[in-house]
Symmetry: C2
Subunit: 550 residues, 2 copies
C-alpha cells in the first residue's frame, strides 16, 4: 500500500537487511560454537510459496477500495516474526494466509469491515506492525469461519493533538515507532518506548499486547503511559475519559490492554509523553559470579534508585554478542533525566554493586560517545531481528522466551530452565546448543529474565524441533512459578500456558465480557479467549443459516 | 466481636474521640467563620435509634455461631463514615441496617455464607473497616432481595507469610492498617500505605476500592503494591499467580481491583512491601499566588523527581487547619528513602519552586522533630475523622470530594468547582460557606485536587442539603473533564456519575463478567454494576419460586 514495501517473509522493509559485513562476526560466532559451516537455503519468493485461493470471494462494493487479495499482501500478513514463523515461511508454507487484507483509513472503514465480517461469519485479525513472536496475527484458526479478514492499521498513523501543558498526545494506533517519535520530536517530546520491535511495531499493537519498553525499572509497560483508549468493537465505539488517574471502578483501560484484538481494534490513544532527556550517564560493570551479580541487581531494584537501564547479561550471551568476551557476566547500567543531573544516582549504584563484587569496565557520561561494551550490546539488540533471515537460511535456530518471577524463585527458575532447555536441545536435535539469560526489566519483588537459545535442528523439521524445545522451556518456566510471558504477549503460541496461569474464574469472566462486545465471536478467535469457549456460544452466521434452511 | 468495640455512630473505637482541648481551636475557627455559636445535639444511642426487625429470621444452624443480629452489630454496619452518613446516624435513622452481620473466620465460612445468601436471595455486603465515604457498605438496595447479610472481615487479620528476599508478604484481607504495620514491623518491613482512613480501614478494603496512599507521586495506588489476590466468589475461589509483573493478557488483579465487593470477597493478597525509611527530609514553601504554586507542582510532577509528599494547600485551608495563617498557599514537600540520602532531591525541588515564587518557610531534616507547619497539617489530617461527630453534633457540615484532571484542565476545573460549590452553599443553606482545595497526589499529566467545603445547613435537613451541594459539585467536576473519584471509590453515592464516566461498552462487559461470577446477583448490588443491569438477568430465588408455584 506504500511505495516502500515490507518484506513478506522476514523482518524489515524490502530495502533493508543485514549486510554481509554485518553478518560475518555473527556467523563466525556460530561457526565456532557448532563447529560447522552452514549451507544457505534461498529465501522464499512470491512465485514459489504455497497459498490456497481466497475462501472469501465476494467483497462488498463499498469495501473493495480498501481490500486486497493479491499474493504479496496475503503472504505479508500470514505470519508474525518469530523464528518459528520464519522457519515456516522459508519452507514456503503460506497455506493459511488470510483471505482478505483490509487497509482502513477511518473508524467508519473499520466499523464497516467488522459489520461485514460479522455478517458472513469471517474471523478478523487486527494487524499493527506484524512483529508478533507468539502467533498473535497468524490466521491459524480451527473454528468454522467463512475465512479470515486481516485489518492492517498502516494508514492510521497520525499524531492528532498535543497537550504540552499536560505532556500528553493523542495518536492514531497504526503509527510505527520511528514515525511516532519523529512526529513527537517536532514538539520537543518523546515517548521513549523502545521495545526490540520498535521499528516495525505500532502504538496500537503495544497497547493491545501490553508491550514493555525502554525503562528497565519503574514504569516500563506501555500501560503506565496510556491516558485513554479509543476502540472500535463489533458493538460500536468505546472511548475512555482522558485522566491522569482515577479510582472509579476497575480501570477501563487496564481491561482493554492485553486483550490482543480479541474484543476490538484500538484506533487512537491519548498517551503520556516526556521531555527529551538532557542528562544521560551509563556504566558497564563486570562480576565474577553470576548469582552474586543477580543479588546486586536485586539490591538495586529494592533501593528505589530506578535506573533507566539495568541489564544483567550472562557471560555466554555477552560473549556471543561480542559485547564482552572476558567470560564474565556484565551489567549495563544507565540513568537519564530531562531535568536534573543523574551522576550521583549512577555513583550510588556502582558503589552498591561493589558490595557484590561488581567493578566498572568503563564509564561514559557523553551520550554521543556511547561506550564500547554497551554500544556493541545495543547494536546487537537493535539489529538482531535483521539477522534472523540469514540465520534461518543457514539452518540455525535462534529463539527466545521470557518470564518474570519473584526474586526468591529466580535461582531455581534459572537453573531449572537452563538445564531443561540444554537437555531438550540435545534430545531433540541430537547435539548440544546454547542457552543464555539476561534481565530485561527489574522490579523490587523480582526480575524479568529473558532466555535465548541456539541450536542446529534438522533442516526439514526446524519449526517442529524448535517448538518441541519451547514446550519444554515453557513447562519449566510455569513449574518454577514464572509467568508465561513478561512482554511477548499471549497470541496463539502461549495460549495453553496462559490458560494454566490465569485464574479459571477470571477466564470465565473475560469470556463473558468478550461475548458482550463481540457476540459473533469474530475478533481474533483463539487469542486470550480459547476457541472452545467461543464455540460454546458463537451463533451460526445468518447467511449460512439461510443456506442450511433452503 | 472484640473486647474493644467500634463506635456504632461515628469514627473510631468507643474509647476514642477528640477531646474538648483538641476541639477548641477547631470550633474556634468555625465560630469565627460563621459568626455564631453552635447548639450541641446529643449523639444517638442504641436505645433511641430507629431500626426495623430483621427480615431474615432463619439462620442455618451451621452459621449461627458466626452470625449476629443484635442492635449494636446491625447499627455498626448500617453506614459508612461520611458526613452524609453521620448526619443520618445523628438523626437516629438506622431503618436500613443489615439483617444479619456475619464474622467469618475462614474462607469456608465465607463460601457457606455466600451459598446460603444465594439460596435465599439475600444481598451480601462485604465489610472491611467500614470507612467508606461513598455508601459502599450501606444496605441501600432497591431490588427484591430477601434481606442483607453484611460480612465483616474483622477476624481474618493475620500476616501469613513473609518473603524477605522478594520483599513481599501474604496477608489476610481483614487486617486494619495499624495492625498490618505492627505485624510487618516485626520483620523490619512496612507497606507505608497511609490513606486518611488508615486506622479503620483494611487491606481488603484498600484493594477492593483501589485506595491511594502515602506517596504523593509515582506508585501510590495500592494497585501497584499488589502481587496477587485471592478471592471468594459465589462461583468459588479465584487466586492469581504471584508475580512481579506479567504481560499475559489483561491483568487479572487489575480486573478485581475496583470491583468494590461486586463480584466476590477478597480474602488474602500477596503485597509488595518496603524497607523502613532511614532518610527523610521535608520542607514547607509559601507562594504568593495559588496558580503559580500549581505551576510549580506541575513542574515538579514532570521533572521525574517524585517526592513522597507534595501537598499544595490553598491559603484558606492552610488557615482553617492552622497549619499556616499568613493567608498564602503552602506546599508541603517530603522525600524519603530506605537506602540513600535524599537531601539533593529536596534541594533541587526547592530550587525549582523558586522559579515560581516559592520560598521556604522552614526546613527540617530531623524526622523526630517534625516541622511545625507540616506537623500541624499532618495532625489535622489524621485527627480529622475524629472531629466529625463533634462537628455534626453542632450542625456544621464538613464534606469533601476529590478528582483528577489533566494539568491543562485544572485551572478551569478549579475555578468552576469553587464557584459552583460557593453558589450552591448560598442557594441551599441561605448563607455563605467555604470551599478549599489541596492536591493529594500528582502525576506528570495532571493533579488530584481534593476539595473540602463547610456550611451551616438546616439542622432538620443536613444530609439532604449537603447532598444537594454535592450533586452540584459532582456535575461541575464531570463537566470540567475530571473523574468522579481519584481514591474515594464509587460506592452507591457516585454511581450516576460513574456510569456517565465509564465507557458504556466497558460497563456492559463488566456486567457480563459479574454475571459469570455472581449469577444470583447478590454481591453488593448497585455498586459498580447498576441494580437495573442486574435485575435484567437476576433469577427469582428458588425458595420464592417454590412459594409462588405452590
Amino acid at each position: 500500500m506504500s511505495e516502500r514495501r515490507r518484506k513478506f517473509y522476514a523482518w524489515g522493509f524490502e530495502d533493508q537487511t543485514a549486510t554481509a559485513e554485518e553478518m560475518a562476526p555473527v556467523l563466525d560466532t556460530w561457526h565456532r560454537v557448532f563447529g560447522t559451516d552452514f549451507e544457505v537455503t534461498p529465501a522464499p519468493t512470491l512465485e514459489t510459496i504455497e497459498m490456497r485461493a481466497p475462501r472469501i470471494t465476494a467483497i462488498p462494493a463499498a469495501l473493495t477500495g480498501i481490500c486486497r487479495q493479491d499474493r504479496y499482501e496475503r503472504a505479508l500478513h500470514a505470519y508474525g516474526r518469530s523464528f518459528l514463523d520464519g522457519a515456516r515461511m522459508f519452507r514456503g508454507d503460506f497455506t493459511r494466509a488470510p483471505d482478505v487484507v483490509a487497509y482502513p483509513r477511518t473508524e467508519d472503514d473499520i466499523r464497516a469491515l467488522l459489520d461485514w465480517a460479522g455478517g458472513i461469519g469471517a474471523a478478523v485479525i487486527p494487524f499493527g506492525g506484524g512483529s508478533s513472536v507468539v502467533g498473535g496475527v497468524n490466521p491459524e484458526i480451527e473454528g468454522d469461519y467463512a475465512g479470515v479478514v486481516t485489518i492492517d492499521m498502516w494508514h492510521m498513523n497520525r499524531l492528532l493533538e498535543v497537550d504540552q501543558v499536560s505532556r500528553s498526545a493523542r495518536v492514531q494506533a497504526g503509527v510505527y515507532g520511528p514515525d511516532l517519535e519523529r512526529q513527537l520530536k517536532e514538539h520537543g517530546l518523546t515517548l521513549r518506548h523502545f521495545p526490540q520491535s520498535f521499528e516495525l511495531s505500532t502504538l496500537g499493537g503495544w497497547i493491545a499486547t501490553r508491550a514493555a519498553g525502554h525503562f528497565a525499572s519503574n514504569a516500563t509497560y506501555i500501560d503506565d503511559y496510556v491516558e485513554s483508549i479509543r476502540m472500535v468493537t463489533p458493538q460500536g465505539v468505546s472511548e475512555s475519559r482522558r485522566l491522569p488517574a482515577s479510582g472509579a471502578g476497575p480501570s477501563p483501560d487496564r481491561f482493554v490492554m492485553g486483550t490482543e484484538g480479541s474484543i476490538g481494534i484500538i484506533t487512537e490513544a491519548w498517551i503520556r509523553v516526556l521531555n527529551r532527556p538532557r542528562f544521560k550517564v551509563g556504566a558497564t560493570l563486570v562480576f565474577d559470579d553470576y548469582h552474586r551479580a543477580a543479588e546486586a541487581v536485586r539490591a538495586i531494584s529494592q533501593s528505589g534508585l530506578q535506573p533507566a537501564n539495568c541489564r544483567l547479561i550472562d557471560a555466554l550471551e555477552a560473549g556471543h554478542t561480542k559485547a564482552y568476551e572476558g567470560g564474565k557476566p556484565i551489567l549495563v547500567l544507565g540513568y537519564e533525566s530531562a531535568h536534573y543531573p543523574v551522576d550521583d544516582l549512577l555513583r550510588l549504584t556502582v558503589e552498591l554493586c561493589a558490595d557484590y563484587g561488581g567493578s566498572p569496565v568503563e564509564t561514559s557520561d557523553r551520550p554521543e560517545a556511547r561506550s564500547a561494551v554497551a554500544g556493541q550490546w545495543r547494536n546487537a539488540f537493535i539489529r538482531g531481528p535483521y539477522y534472523r533471515e540469514h540465520m534461518i537460511a543457514r539452518g540455525i535456530c535462534r529463539e527466545t522466551f521470557e518470564t518474570a518471577v519473584p526474586w526468591s524463585g529466580f535461582p531455581e527458575l534459572h537453573g531449572s530452565v537452563v538445564r531443561t532447555v540444554d537437555e531438550a536441545i540435545r534430545r531433540v536435535t541430537g547435539r548440544a546448543g546454547t542457552v543464555t539469560c539476561r534481565f530485561t526489566h527489574i522490579y523490587p519483588n523480582g526480575p524479568a529474565p529473558y532466555f535465548t537459545f541456539h541450536c542446529l535442528p534438522d533442516r526439514a523439521r526446524m519449526a517442529e524441533q524448535c517448538m518441541e524445545i519451547k514446550v519444554a522451556a515453557y513447562d519449566a518456566v510455569m513449574k518454577a512459578g514464572g509467568t508465561i510471558t513478561h512482554h511477548h504477549a499471549v497470541g496463539r503460541l502461549h495460549m495453553p500456558w496462559y490458560v494454566e496461569q490465569r485464574p479459571k474464574l477470571i477466564g470465565a469472566a473475560f469470556a463473558a465480557a468478550k461475548r458482550a462486545l463481540d457476540p459473533a465471536g469474530i475478533m481474533n478467535p483463539g487469542v486470550i479467549v480459547p476457541e472452545a469457549d467461543i464455540a460454546a456460544w458463537r451463533p451460526v452466521p445468518a447467511e449460512r443459516e439461510a443456506v442450511a434452511a433452503s
